[in-house]
C-alpha cells in the first residue's frame, strides 16, 4: 500500500505551496499556491482513505467545495482591488501598513 510515499508527496507539494506564497508578490499567483496547498491536503486525505474508509473522500469533497467558494470570492476581491489601484502587486497594496 502506498501510504507513506503518498503522505510524503503531499508534504513536498504543501512545502512548495508555502514557498510560493512566501516568494511571490503577484496576488493571483499567490492564490494559485494556496490552491496547491489545498490539493496537497486533499492528497493526504485520499491516502488515508485507503486505511480509514470512504469517509475521508468526503472530507476531500468538502475541501474542494470550500476551495471553489474561496477561489470565486478571492478572485472577486482581486478584481475589486485591481479596479481600485490598477495593480495586483502586493507591494502596492499597503493601505493598512501603518
Amino acid at each position: 500500500m502506498l501510504l507513506g510515499p503518498a503522505l510524503g508527496l503531499s508534504a513536498i507539494l504543501f512545502t512548495i505551496g508555502v514557498a510560493g506564497v512566501l516568494l511571490r508578490r503577484n496576488a493571483i499567483v499567490l492564490f494559485m499556491c494556496v490552491e496547491l496547498m489545498l490539493n496537497a491536503v486533499n492528497l493526504a486525505f485520499v491516502a488515508l482513505a485507503q486505511v480509514y474508509g470512504v469517509g475521508a473522500y468526503l472530507i476531500a469533497f468538502f475541501v474542494m467545495t470550500v476551495a471553489a467558494a474561496e477561489a470565486a470570492v478571492g478572485l472577486a476581491i482581486i478584481l475589486a482591488v485591481f479596479r481600485h489601484n490598477q495593480s495586483i502587486d502586493l507591494q502596492n497594496i499597503n493601505l493598512l501598513h501603518g
Binding site: 503518498a6 482513505a49 473522500y57 467545495t65 476551495a67 472577486a76 475589486a80
Partner: protein, 185 residues
C-alpha cells in the same frame, strides 16, 4: 504497476509545482498548475480513489483553473517585471519552507499499522477499532458497492448535515462574488 504509475505522476506533480512557483508570468504558472492538478488526479486513481480522481480533474483542472484564466485575461496585466521577492524574501522563504519540510517529512515513515497503533493509543478520537481493523477499508467498500456507490451511503447518511451546509456556503459565495464584483452596489 500501480506503484510505477504513482511514482511517475508524483514526480511530474512535484516538478510542475516547482515550475509553477518559479514561472514569471501568471498564465505560465497557471498552465503548470493545471499540469499538477491532472497528475494529482492520476495519483488519486492509483490510491484507490477513482471517483475523487475524476472529480479532481472536472472541478479543479476544469472549473477552478478556467476561473483563474478568465480573471488573468480580464485584468490584462501585460508584460510586467518579475514579481519574485528579493534576497531577504528568498532567505525567509528558505527558512520557513525548510522548517515545514522537516516537520512534515516525518509523515513519510507512516504505515497503516503504525497509524492504527497510534490512534488506538489516543483514546476517544474516532471509532478506532472498527476503522483500522484491516487497513483496507476503502478497497473493501469499493469492492462491496462499486466506485460511486461506496461514496454515497456515508455522504447522505453520516455527513448529511455538512452536505446541506455546503449548499449554504456556495449560496453565500455566489452572493459575495456578485456584491464584490459589481461596480456600484
Amino acid at each position: 504497476m500501480t506503484e510505477v504509475v504513482f511514482y511517475i505522476f508524483g514526480g511530474i506533480a512535484v516538478l510542475s509545482a516547482a515550475m509553477c512557483v518559479l514561472q514569471r508570468t501568471a498564465v505560465g504558472a497557471l498552465i503548470w498548475l493545471v499540469q499538477v492538478m491532472l497528475s494529482l488526479g492520476v495519483v488519486f486513481v492509483t490510491l484507490q480513489g477513482q471517483f475523487i480522481g475524476l472529480i479532481q480533474i472536472l472541478v479543479y483542472a476544469g472549473a477552478i483553473m478556467v476561473l483563474f484564466l478568465f480573471i488573468i485575461m480580464l485584468l490584462n496585466l501585460g508584460r510586467v517585471g518579475t514579481d519574485i521577492r528579493g534576497p531577504a524574501g528568498v532567505a525567509a522563504m528558505l527558512v520557513l519552507a525548510g522548517l515545514i519540510a522537516a516537520e512534515l517529512g516525518g509523515l513519510m515513515a507512516y504505515s497503516p499499522a503504525r497509524i492504527g497503533r497510534e490512534v488506538r493509543a489516543s483514546a476517544g478520537v474516532v471509532e478506532a477499532g472498527a476503522a483500522f481493523a484491516g487497513g483496507r477499508a476503502a478497497q473493501e467498500a469499493t469492492a462491496a458497492r462499486g466506485v460511486v456507490g461506496g461514496v454515497a451511503p456515508p455522504l447522505f447518511d453520516t455527513y448529511l448535515v455538512p452536505f446541506e451546509i455546503t449548499s449554504l456556503l456556495l449560496l453565500a459565495a455566489i452572493v459575495g462574488t456578485v456584491v464584490l464584483a459589481k461596480r456600484k452596489v
